[in-house]
Amino acid sequence: MNGVEGFMYPNEIELHWSVLIVLYPYITGLVAGAFILASLERVFRVEAVKPTYRLALFTALSFLLVAPLPLQLHLGHPERSPEMYFTPHSTSAMAMFGYVYLWYLMAVLVFEIWLDYRCDIVLLAEQSHGMKRLLYRVMTLGSSNISPRSLHIDERVGWIVTLVGIPSAFMLHGYVGFIFGSIKANPWWSSPLMPVVFIFSAMVSGIACVMVLYMATTKMRGRKIDMLCVDTIAMYLFYTFIIDFSLETLDLIHRIYEADESFRSLDFMVHSKLYFSHIVVQIICGTLIPLALLAVTQLVKLGEVTRKRIYATAGVLTLIGIFAMRWNVVIGGQLFSKSFLGYTTYKMSLISKEGLLMAFGLTLLPLGILWVLIKLLPPWPEENAQAVTGD
């Protein structure tokens, strides 16, 4: 059969989890990572990253709203998905995750954004007219008290929400890693390190995403990039990346040293079908090069323009690398037979429910949502200062 080598079980020839299921952990990872970056300012008081605080929260929200769409498209019958909430199934990790998702969306992200913006929304409602005024009024949820005491309460509650949000963000992406890591039938996935690797790679991708978005949006608005801010983000990106890379290397060394029954089959796969996406894109272009670039910025004093270029390049490469990592996990895990005697090929369609164009659309959709959110509630600190003082 075309694209099939050796012996495959009949149901393994065609891949069941397509590029959309690659997108799902990628998008969820960006959500968790962006939130962790936002929490740096809120909980850990890293003032330097303040310019990205609201942008990071919006990035997390935009991507979180899109996160379930690949799954809906893959499964079909979206009208059945609310069943998950009405018929709880406590022994199914997938079923229980529905609650984690809802909790994270409503109790953490939306609530935190609302608390942070409440004062701005009240002021915007006062300043605007017509439909916009009505919209902002609805968004205040009837809470228009912006006395210093009330804002202080907002601040305290927001801090608590962020504090609760950090373990929630870990759970959000830890779950995705768990789903793969707990499948004992698949040796490419089955590893207790998987959730930890997923969490750290999520932080890496989320931080890189917000850094690139901040630089791009600031440039588009014709404003000056806050170098202290991007320098700090790049530093955090570098250190998180080192932890992530160490964990992935540990996983690799462990597999090579243990060399269990699946090893020969998986090793062959990495050197053949997965060579380009795993060795070239993920490890070389998506990990070693950005790590080296970031290391240079930490070790050598460079000019502002050079630093900006390096950060932008490293950020984009990191995002590609983490996507390749998700690809290699999801697609790679289905390319070999569970008999360890054969290999299949993934044939991606272009125009279909789970094709390439749909994947592109789903990648761009969060950026569209982000644009609407930014238009509705500008996340730029300098403009907010103007709004609050009424300039």
Binding site: N11, H16, W17, I183, K184, N186, G333, K338
Partner: protein
Amino acid sequence: MQACPYGCRYIHPEKKVVDKCTLCYHRITKGLTTACAENCPTGARQLVDLKNPNDPIHAFLKTHSVQILKPQMATGAKVYYNELDGAVR
């Protein structure tokens, strides 16, 4: 489907939902054997009652070299193979 170590689960071609062998539930509840056992020309496939202590299968399991597939997966498989070749997995 991803979690089945044997590649046994499949998408039902008409209903488009995940399915697996039911051991011909509709037949065995009527006292019949499974369709695959019924159609096996050499009698290599046998449906037996493991819960019945008087079933001759228990004597067979004791006196023959019987294996299951992927015992390391601890799936509690009830499909036994007599003198299974090591190459089958």
